[in-house]
Each structure stands twice: as structure tokens, then as C-alpha cells.
Symmetry: C2
Subunit: 248 residues, 2 copies
């Protein structure tokens, strides 16, 4: 800090979380429903889950708390990706300001720290029934507008997820422990927003020693049963050491 | 935000910057000298440059301002990498608390948003003479302790830089527009903290179409003059599109 503090300000600090889940066909995110009337108009809109950071609470702890209160889950992939302090970021929509007044929320500047989380919907049994009444999974591709600046935060989260997926094996967080190569390809296609050539994709995967075939195939499927694979974090970390390669 | 705000808190928000520069032999960072006496003892310690965020100022704007006030530079690679709100993060050392009281700094919680910046020392002419009297380049490898939690922030910045260097072509920000392959290799060795095999390194580089040889060689050197290369952002972005490869 400099030796002056003119024009500085008190803030409230919040965390907001983009919690992603993959259902083998599309990428989804948990949104909170907000219903209230304002000026005779009824509003039904959506926002990202989040909360103000509490006294003596670390930022990561606050984000973990939001995730746990919502899903019951702990020790889930959760990564801070941005702090946003744009002046007036909560005042974009008149209805948001009205809502803040109603819940007794401070109208001053709120700096928010944004997190994204990756959940395996199947493994973690977080389907509709596992969430509170006002929370629901929404296909990311269908979301057009959110409260406050949450649409910007969601877009940033998605860009971060895409970039991370290109350079780190985080996609496996969204898959069950064993998966087929078709499921893995679909995951990449959905998040990168592009179709991938099956032959090229399999060639790439064959160069990843940490994607390990196991002696088990799908059962109860109408097509030819595919082999299951697992992701070996141990092998990955060995491979990764001292390597660098910023593009193919 | 939830519909309660029990136990929440007012914060001050600051930015802190790890500004890295490479001098062809080692990685350096700009630190601010702090000299003052406390309880009869004279303290000379070092901290990262930073400042409180001002009213109506965006976080990125505040970081750019700190960078510009210090170096005179604008439009430099500057990336937010963490927000830190650990309770009591400013109270680790008694001398820090005394210093805060002297400069009239709020003793309440300060959430800081950390940035790292990459500067080409040669190109940007930011040597010792270009910095204020209390600021100086320090070899990163020599730094053992900093004020507050700044050592943690610097360590995090370095980890982020290493990870980014593995997957993105950011190293070129630290080099002059034209560079030799030996200089490029040295940069990677210094930041990754490891020696690289020359033959393997050149093989990797030959697979990077965006590292382009130009028709110019070193002059005035005692060894065999080496060819210069440039980094083509345009070629990189074309190559990068739709590619993914999270390890070699």
C-alpha cells in the first residue's frame, strides 16, 4: 500500500460460484431462482449461487461453504478464477437494486470473488432432487440473461474452463471414475463448443499415458460395448514434470 | 448473496503486483524498500508494490495505475491471478502493524487482489535508473522474506507464471522482439527452475510454427553468431484454435 489512502473505500466482499456439471450430452450450471414483484411487475430471474464473506472467514472457505450448503458436497474441484470490483456492478438493473433493499443488503460496492466448480452429476448424485427448491441445473447453452453482472461472470467462468481444459486434465472431474472414449470426446466437444474428428481424438488420447484402459466394458447397451478407461493422476503428474508444450 | 448478512464485514481492497523482468540470466522482480525504526530497532525490509483501490476505480485499473506510477509503462502484460482475504493477513509481523498505524492505514481486514506483470527489461528500458528511489529489481532466487504475506503472494505468482509458461506462449513477453534460441531456452530454464536438454528443446521449438526464424543474426559476439527468431502471435492463434493438449 502507498502512504496515502485518499479516495479509498469500504467494500463488502462476496463469493459467487459457477458450479458446472456434465450429463453426457451437455454442460449444465446451477442457478438460483429469484421471484419477487416490483412496481406491479412480477420478476422471475436467475442468479449464480453466492454469499457475502463472513467475519474471520477465508475466501476459499466462503466458496466451499456456499457449495456445501447448496449440494452437500465437500472436497470438490473448486477454483478461484477472478475478482471483480467494477464500480456499480450491482446496479445494472433497477430490479436488482430493489431486491437488495428488500433483503437489507448493503448497497455499497461489493467486490466479488468468482469461483468455478466441477461436479460429476452422476457420481455425486446431484440431480434435481438433491438441490434446494430454489436451485436447479440449467444447460449453459440456454442461458441468456442473469441478475447483476452474473452473465459476465458465467461467461468468464466458461472461458476459463475452456482454457483450463486445453492445458490441464480437469475434464476428468466432470466424468465418473470410469468412462468410455466416446464420453470423453463428447465432454471435450461440449466444452470447447466444436466437433472433433474421432480418429484424431483417439490418436491424441493414445499419446496420453495417463488415460488408462481397464479390463471392463459397458454392459446393457444396444451398441457394441465400449471399453472403459480411467484417468491416472499419478501417471499424469509423472509425465507432466518438467514438460512444457504450449500448443499442438 | 444470501438473504442474510450476519457476521459480514467491511473490507478495504488493495492490489499488489509482482512485476517480473528477465535479464537473459535470471528472473527479477521489483520490490519496494521500507525503512523505519520501531521499538529502537531499525527495520529495512521489502514489499511488493501495491496500493489501495480508489473510489470508482476498477481492480484492473488500480493495478495498471500502480504499474504506470512505478515504471511509466502502459499496455504491459498484467494478469490478475488471485484474491487473498485470509483473516489477519496484515498482522503476521508486529513491525507491519506499527507501520500501518504510522501511515494511517486501516487496520481492518484488507482483501488484496494480486497481479503479475511481465516486462522486458531491455526493450522497456526499465533498469535501475528508470525506477523511483525506493524501488529496485531483485533476483527472485535471492528473496527470502517480505513484509506482510507478500512472500506467499510472490510464491503464488511464480507458480502461476510457471504453469502459464507450460501452456501459453507468455515467455515472449519477457524477451525482446527478436531473440536467439539460446535466450529462449535460458528463459525456460530460469522460470521452470530446471536445465533443459538443448537438442530436445530445439526439437520442441521446431514444432512451434509460431517461433519464426528471421534473416538476421547476432553481431558483435565472440561466439558463432546465432540466428534471431520472432514470436508470431498471428500464427500462434491460428495454430491454437480448437487444439488441446494437456501434456507432452
Amino acid at each position: 500500500m502507498k502512504e496515502s489512502e485518499n479516495n479509498t473505500l469500504n467494500y463488502h466482499v462476496s463469493v459467487d460460484c459457477a458450479i458446472f456439471g456434465f450429463d453426457f450430452s451437455k454442460l449444465n450450471v446451477i442457478l438460483m431462482e429469484r421471484n419477487f414483484a416490483y412496481n406491479g411487475v412480477e420478476y422471475n430471474d436467475l442468479k449464480l449461487p453466492g454469499d457475502l464473506v463472513r467475519k474471520d472467514e477465508d475466501l476459499d472457505t466462503a466458496a466451499s461453504r456456499v457449495l456445501k450448503e447448496l449440494t452437500g458436497l465437500e472436497n470438490i474441484y473448486l477454483k478461484q478464477f477472478a475478482a471483480i470490483g467494477t464500480p456499480n456492478r450491482l446496479k445494472r438493473f433497477e430490479r436488482d437494486m430493489e431486491w437488495l433493499r428488500r433483503i437489507g443488503h448493503p448497497e455499497e460496492v461489493v467486490v466479488t470473488v468468482a469461483y468455478y466448480s466441477l461436479i460429476n452429476i452422476e457420481r455425486d448424485r446431484i440431480d434435481k432432487s438433491g438441490l434446494p427448491a430454489d436451485a436447479r441445473w440449467h444447460p449453459v447453452a440456454d442461458i441468456k440473461e442473469l441478475s447483476f453482472d452474473h452473465m459476465d461472470i458465467l461467461t468468464d467462468a466458461l472461458i476459463t474452463l475452456r482454457n483450463e481444459l486445453r492445458s490441464n486434465p480437469i475434464g476428468f472431474e466432470l466424468l465418473p471414475p470410469k468412462f468410455t472414449l466416446s464420453q470423453l470426446q463428447k465432454l471435450y466437444e461440449v466444452i470447447l463448443g466444436t466437433e472433433l474428428d474421432k480418429r484424431n481424438f483417439r490418436k491424441k488420447v493414445s499419446n496420453m499415458p495417463y488415460v488408462v484402459p481397464i479390463n471392463e466394458k459397458e454392459s446393457g447397451v444396444s451398441h457394441k460395448p465400449a471399453r472403459y478407461y480411467i484417468f491416472s493422476k499419478k501417471v499424469y503428474e509423472k509425465t507432466r514434470k518438467n514438460s512444457f508444450d504450449f500448443s499442438v
